[in-house]
Symmetry: C2
Subunit: 183 residues, 2 copies
DNA sequence: ACCTGAACACCGTTCAAGT
DNA sequence: ACCTGAACACCGTTCAAGT
């Protein structure tokens, strides 16, 4: 005798995202997610294989939204201005939603095919802007990696409470970016 | 009636380091550490306030060893060669001991005073080499931040299984570093 | 087809009791 | 002074049973 579903896979993912955003991945417990969906813990396993599968699904959604935000905020007259706007958007997202940012880069989730696919897709906007800025195809991978490393490292240091020796952190960000984009 | 101690604070820290190195911070359970020290879980609380205190103590030790490794491997004829050697040493440490590297930058440990102090001390070698390479004092903080962000970001991307689109990752690392050091 | 209660092994942590 | 056993609340996960 079928019983009507009290929740859905999508709703559970949405709940997972909101918990991670508000309180971090460690706060995402099966019981907490289930409670917010109006079900009991064990029922969640009808929708996801385990906690990690739910976390991966949430991370995949977050990556797509992050990339959409990046795209929508990449504005500017010149290619370089657009790249700077994209970098600022990247840093802003990490500053506003540090837990969501960390979720996307969780090492134990990197093997998930959905995340790998989303990541591959997510680099495209950067490649397009670098192309518009005159970076030749054969140098794209190298330059892209350098830019991504710099952005990821900078926001990572900020999230980890490094950079607390005073001084103008914004200025350092801008100057480092400018140097790298002069490649 | 005093009983002779079966272990010591230092031994527990050492055990914690070896567990994290081999299996990551998640594998560091109170029971696992205690078992390896020949005591029971609850006894560990005579030496550390809680799991986080043990983790912080281990991270502090790791930072000091990391910086010592960096210093010992910073060799080269010219200042720029020495900086490149230091960067290579940084990347090598993270590649060989990814779990220890991640431990040093765990966000929830950043507030620990021992870690903050060790980090402040740990940046000194970089500052010295940048000074030798001609970076003026007023630009030291900016340049240092850019270099650290780049190094941290690059090894972070490598640890997170990013950079799997093929191509020469070593070359990208070298080229990015060269660009930044031309500041 | 989906949900639940009960159960299991495993966490971190506390505390009274042992020596 | 340090260690232990027992206990607690809380994890993720499994499974037989309910509808």
């Amino acid at each position: 005798m079928p019983t009507p579903p009290k929740t859905s896979r999508d709703e559970l993912i949405e709940i997972a995202c909101s918990i991670v955003q508000a309180r971090g991945a460690d706060a995402l417990t099966i019981a907490a997610v289930a409670a917010e969906a109006g079900i009991k813990g064990p029922s969640l396993y009808k929708h996801f294989a385990d906690r990690n599968a739910l976390l991966s699904a949430a991370a995949t959604v977050v990556i797509h939204r992050f990339v959409a935000t990046l795209r929508s905020e990449t504005n500017g007259r010149s290619p370089k201005q657009r790249l700077q706007a994209m970098a600022a958007s990247y840093r802003r997202f990490a500053a506003r939603s540090p837990h969501l940012y960390q979720l996307m880069y969780k090492p134990e989730l990197a093997a998930d095919p959905g995340i790998a696919e989303a990541s591959r897709l997510g680099v495209q906007p950067l490649f397009e802007e670098l192309h518009a800025a005159g970076v030749p195809a054969k140098r794209m991978l190298i330059v892209g990696r350098i830019v991504v490393a710099y952005l990821h490292g900078f926001v990572g240091m900020e999230a980890g409470l490094a950079f607390r020796l005073g001084g103008d952190v914004d200025l350092a960000f801008e100057e480092g970016l400018r140097t790298i984009l002069d490649l």
